[in-house]
């Protein structure tokens, strides 16, 4: 597609309107990249000094000012794992129902979509309080990685579902008719054809969902708790990286260096997860030889 654009441009270089729009379009990402490197640079500049093998493998000392953040990384990964194992089936399932089995003006579909839009706007602090009331107290999971993960699952659902639905809607109807006319049941059509074809949309939802979950502070404060021991089970309370960064930067004098270090670790963790998600879907797509 891009080569074809270039030939167009060459023909119309004299057209200054073209020049303005191109320079406008190029300036936006430059601004965004500049801001990004300003923020990331700030984190790297202050945090790179903290990163060392002990920082990643030992427990916290002196309320986090020194020592490592191993238990916190483990808690974060476990909270994310719980969040994804709950939100992916729930989210993709709902997305399939909305995209494949409900007509545009079906009341049930519209109700679920609207409730998801509202859920997308619920503030993280309210999720924290709700999670605290439902998971910590009523369901009796107490302050635990499980409560934190479940609360985050509720938070990421809207993003996951909307992106998955967009992904499914983008799959052309030819495949649905082709499969139907060959007497292939909806389940197999979904599993073998539609879901693989919708994977790009699912991937965006997953990446945004993980981004939102890993960046979450207020919600986890009241659900997964403040304990920075190494968790021994899902029912143990575990402090997540973002809470650790929050506590160090807002509550502990002299906590800034380790706060920056933890922020850097969090970004690296995010890079690994996004990379893995992209790699898994690419490999899975590859041997299904999908049309992209």
């Amino acid at each position: 597609m891009n080569q074809q654009q270039k030939t167009n441009n060459k023909k119309q270089t004299t057209n200054n309107k073209q020049l303005i729009t191109t320079s406008l379009v190029w300036s936006v990402p430059l601004i965004i990249t500049a801001i990004f490197f300003w923020i990331l640079g700030d984190i790297i500049w202050h945090g790179i000094g903290q990163i060392s093998w002990e920082f990643l493998t030992t427990a916290t000392k002196d309320a986090g000012r020194s020592g490592g953040i191993a238990p916190i990384i483990v808690s974060t990964v476990l909270i994310l794992a719980v969040c994804l194992t709950v939100s992916i089936p729930l989210g993709v399932g709902t997305a399939i129902l909305l995209a494949e089995f409900t007509r545009e003006e079906n009341w049930f579909g519209r109700l679920v979509r609207r409730s998801l839009d509202v859920l997308a706007g619920v503030p993280s602090i309210v999720f924290g309080l709700f999670g605290n009331a439902l998971f910590v107290r009523i369901l009796g999971f107490k302050y635990s990685i499980l409560s934190g993960g479940l609360t985050l699952a509720c938070m990421v659902l809207p993003i996951l579902i909307r992106s998955a639905e967009e992904g499914l809607r983008a799959v052309p109807n030819d495949y649905r008719f082709g499969a139907a006319c060959l007497g292939i049941c909806r389940t197999s059509t979904l599993w073998h054809l539609l879901l693989p074809a919708a994977v790009p949309g699912l991937l965006v939802g997953l990446v945004l969902g993980v981004g939102r979950a890993i960046a979450e502070t207020a919600a986890l404060l009241f659900t997964s708790g403040y304990v920075d021991h190494l968790p021994t089970s899902l029912l143990d309370s575990g402090r997540s990286l973002s809470i650790h960064i929050f506590d160090l930067s807002m509550n502990i004098s002299g906590g800034d260096p380790n706060a920056y270090g933890s922020a850097l670790v969090l970004i690296m963790l995010l890079l690994i997860i996004n990379g893995m998600a992209a790699w898994i879907t690419h490999r899975w797509l590859e041997n299904r030889i999908l049309y992209r």
């Binding site: 891009n2 990249t33 700030d42 998801l116 839009d117 992106s163």
Partner: protein, 293 residues
């Protein structure tokens, strides 16, 4: 034409339609659970907000002189307006920037640059709000302060929120542009439309539903943001006259005072939570109506 023996039992076909029935019933259960979550949350908020509503009723939340729960004054309007201004401000800035960055990724950037730019945007989406708040407090606020004290202001809130919600719209817009069938673009290009003409004339209308989803999700994120807004907006309970005035968002209000609130003060915070949900519901219904036309 050769014929071959093909033994397909009707039992097997029966099983397949059974599988479909099972799939649909499972999906309906999942969708009901998902749809119910928000109802649980609203019910939970109402439950916690009842004490103060019984004592004071709803009117003082709009008519009291100020917000001082210790003295029984619960005026929420400055914070409602604060949240509205900071959300609309950031959405109005982030949407064009996000869409243009998606256009850049899809149509202007060479593949390599587009790839790295997308990874960068994904990273921006993952940075915790506390890091944005921290950077805002240490870098942005003193900068604005040099222009017009006190620095912590509506403007700082808008800038920080714009940076935070931009990845959401950018990634979703990018994904919806990617889905536009080649024929549309080649068709437009064959009509001699300039690149920009194609994008505005063909791409935007075709990707309308994706962009719409992006705007709703980014607005949701902007309204729901707590930590970053708490750290850079100054949290002064007033209706901001200018963008340099400090203000307090509803979310920040809950986070600020929940730790020490008791009795009516605590349920008043839940009323501000309900106020927030009310705003979100109004926005969603309004967007629904706009989408109808």
């Amino acid at each position: 034409m050769t014929l071959w023996k093909l033994k397909i039992s009707s039992l097997f076909n029966r099983l397949q339609s059974q599988a479909d029935l099972l799939l649909i019933s499972i999906l309906r259960i999942l969708a009901t659970i998902t749809g119910a979550i928000v109802l649980f949350i609203v019910f939970f908020l109402i439950l916690e907000a009842i004490p103060v509503l019984q004592d004071e009723g709803i009117v003082p939340f709009f008519t009291d002189s100020s917000w001082n729960p210790a003295e029984g004054l619960y005026n929420l309007t400055p914070m409602l307006l604060g949240t509205l201004f900071v959300t609309l401000g950031s959405v109005l800035i982030a949407t064009p920037l996000g869409i243009l960055s998606a256009v850049f990724c899809q149509y202007y950037a060479p593949a390599k640059i587009a790839y790295f730019y997308r990874r960068l945007i994904e990273l921006l989406a993952g940075i915790p709000s506390v890091v944005y708040g921290f950077w805002g407090l240490v870098v942005l606020v003193p900068l604005i302060n040099s222009i017009n004290p006190p620095g912590t202001s509506l403007l700082a809130g808008i800038i920080i929120l714009t940076i935070m919600i931009l990845p959401t719209i950018a990634l979703i817009a990018d994904a919806s542009f990617a889905k536009i069938p080649e024929e549309y673009l080649i068709g437009a290009a064959s009509l001699g439309l300039s690149q920009w003409g194609t994008i505005v004339g063909v791409v935007f209308p075709a990707a309308k539903s994706g962009l719409f989803t992006g705007v709703i999700l980014e607005t949701g994120r902007a309204i729901g943001e707590t930590m970053a807004v708490l750290m850079v907006c100054g949290n002064v309970v007033q209706i901001p006259r200018s963008i340099f005035d400090p203000m307090r968002a509803l979310t920040a209000n809950i986070a600020l005072e929940m730790a020490y609130a008791l009795g009516n003060h605590r349920s008043a915070l839940f009323v501000s939570g309900l106020g927030l949900m009310g705003m979100i519901i109004i926005l969603v219904v309004a967007s629904e109506i706009i989408n109808e036309q």
